[in-house]
């Protein structure tokens, strides 16, 4: 469990990126921080691995104040995936994935073996192992980024708009992949995005942020959709324009689901999706609350 207790971050130039934030991030679930640009998402995320230190307040991981931990060591135990992957351009894919293992002193052979396994885990062909990042597509680079984040099998995985720079089809592929991984691995994922649909798709818990890292609403997708806390949340999730008010209309192949703008959003099918991706308004499979 990660806990923020009245955490404030003021940068030297006076910008208050986060103002007395209190937030509990449960273990083995995906918490999504969603909000518009400049709302402090990245800053919040980086306070978890001490890339940013709070001006005041306490950040705890499993009850321990992280201010007392050595930043370099702390970071080696926490996965971090960012937009544009942040891969090291001068290292081959396999070495990029194994970087943190090398840093923690794992023998080269073993580290590389583990890196190859991780390529399978994230659905990357092992043939890419000896390529340099610039020889991969954006989507493939993001997969490498995720594999690298998972290398030391961390309990916590921080993801900062990891799928923000890829096209919608690849993005949706990567999202499904992450849902599958999360079902298998059950990490404590903190995921930053400004895409509310992505938030609803991936999040067990969603924090909608206003400027200054202020939480407008914290809840499950269902809670937020069915009961938006205020106008800000309504407009952010699109319930104010009725964009999420769905109704049925008879179509050629069954009932069409029409959204608030009059566009077909899908067709209504009868079987309930027990396996596979969750969707907005539905909480996913069994989630055990570990640690």
């Amino acid at each position: 469990m990660i806990e923020f207790r009245s955490v404030t971050k003021q940068f030297p130039d006076g910008t208050r990126a986060v103002d007395s934030l209190s937030l509990v991030i449960p273990s083995r679930k995906t918490t999504v921080l969603v909000g518009s640009s400049g709302s402090g998402k990245t800053t919040i995320l980086r306070m978890i691995n001490r890339m940013v230190d709070p001006t005041s307040g306490v950040v705890e991981i499993d009850g321990d104040d992280i201010a007392g931990k050595e930043p370099v060591k702390l970071r080696r135990g926490i996965g971090y995936v960012m937009q544009n992957s942040g891969l090291l351009p001068h290292r081959k894919v396999i070495d990029n994935i194994a970087t943190v293992l090398y840093l923690t002193g794992v023998a080269r052979g073993r580290a590389r073996g583990r890196a190859l396994e991780l390529m399978d885990t994230v659905g990357l062909d092992r043939a890419f192992a000896d390529r340099y990042p610039s020889q991969l597509s954006g989507g493939q680079q993001q997969r490498v980024g995720v594999a690298r984040g998972l290398a030391v099998d961390p309990n916590i995985l921080l993801m900062d708009e990891p799928f923000g720079a890829v096209d919608p089809i690849v993005r949706s592929e990567l999202q499904q992949e992450l849902l599958r991984l999360q079902r298998e691995l059950g990490k404590t994922v903190v995921f930053v995005t400004h895409d509310i649909d992505e938030a609803f798709l991936l999040g067990d818990q969603i924090a909608i942020l206003k400027t200054g890292g202020e939480i407008a609403q914290l809840g499950t997708p269902t809670e937020i959709l069915s009961n938006p806390a205020d106008d800000f949340v309504s407009s952010f999730v699109g319930t104010d324009r009725g964009a999420r008010a769905l109704h049925l209309a008879p179509g050629r192949f069954g009932n069409l689901v029409i959204d608030g703008t009059g566009r077909p959003a899908g067709i209504l099918v009868n079987e309930s999706p027990t396996e596979g991706p969750s969707w907005p308004g539905q909480t996913r499979g069994p989630s055990t609350d570990g640690r």
Binding site: N49, M51, V72, K73, L74, R75, R76, Y80, M82, N84, S85, G86, L87, L88, P89, H90, R91, T99, V100, L103, T104, Y132, S134, Q135, R148, L158
Partner: protein, 229 residues
């Protein structure tokens, strides 16, 4: 031709002197400039001072520096050390700035991600930032190598032997062949050094030659521009 054959021993020995007088400043210049450049990049106050100082230093004519050094550091006027030190200073002057600029140009994203993975500041500099500055450092070193080789000749004016001696001697005796041999020898040394640096780059920076077939094109070393102070 017969002159060359008759004086082959002398030409060879001058060539070796020339190589030796160039290699030391080139290598020393690199070894000194990289840490200084890294400090300059890290501390902004230091950076301004260092960059300005090296700019001024680079503007001092080489002959003046050769002549002045003995009175500043107390060496003998004919000591090859004067040339070595002066040329090392030029190499440092050029490379400090290049290093600082190259380090400042490393993608912030890559630095953030290296930090997030748990590199220490030192580890990040040595394992990430400097390697990524490699192509720019290499381009800088190619300039340094060529300009050092050509500046060594100037040392002949103060009696430090190198292929430059052939220019002076050939000029005084009005003997163009000797001058020509000196020029060709200097150019060959410069080309060989340049070639060696390029080879080292291929070997040490394999990633920098990768270009994407589709879309964004990355890298490839710049050709150096030779400047003579």
């Amino acid at each position: 031709m017969s002159w060359l054959l008759a004086n082959l021993d002398m030409v060879l020995s001058l060539t070796l002197d020339h190589i030796w007088l160039s290699v030391v400043p080139i290598v020393l210049g690199f070894l000194l400039a990289v840490p200084i450049g890294a400090i300059a990049n890290r501390y902004h106050l230091v950076r301004g001072t260092l960059v300005t100082a090296s700019g001024i230093l680079y503007a001092v004519p080489s002959l003046a520096l050769f002549v002045l050094l003995p009175s500043i550091i107390g060496t003998q006027i004919l000591d090859p050390l004067n040339v070595i030190i002066a040329l090392t200073l030029y190499a440092v002057a050029l490379m400090v700035r290049t290093t600082a600029d190259a380090l400042a140009d490393v993608e912030p994203d890559v630095i953030q991600s290296a930090k997030a993975m748990g590199y220490s500041t030192w580890g990040r500099l040595v394992r990430v930032e400097l390697p990524l500055s490699g192509p720019v450092l290499l381009a800088g070193m190619r300039v340094v190598a060529v300009s050092t080789v050509s500046l060594v000749s100037v040392g002949a004016l103060i009696g430090v032997n190198s292929l430059g001696y052939l220019f002076i001697d050939g000029f005084q005796r009005n003997f163009p062949l000797e001058i020509l041999v000196g020029i060709i020898g200097t150019v060959v040394i410069a080309l060989v050094f340049d070639g060696l640096l390029v080879l080292m780059g291929r070997f040490l920076l394999p990633w920098s030659r990768i270009t994407r077939t589709n879309g964004r094109l990355i890298v490839v070393q710049d050709d150096p521009v030779v400047i003579n102070p």
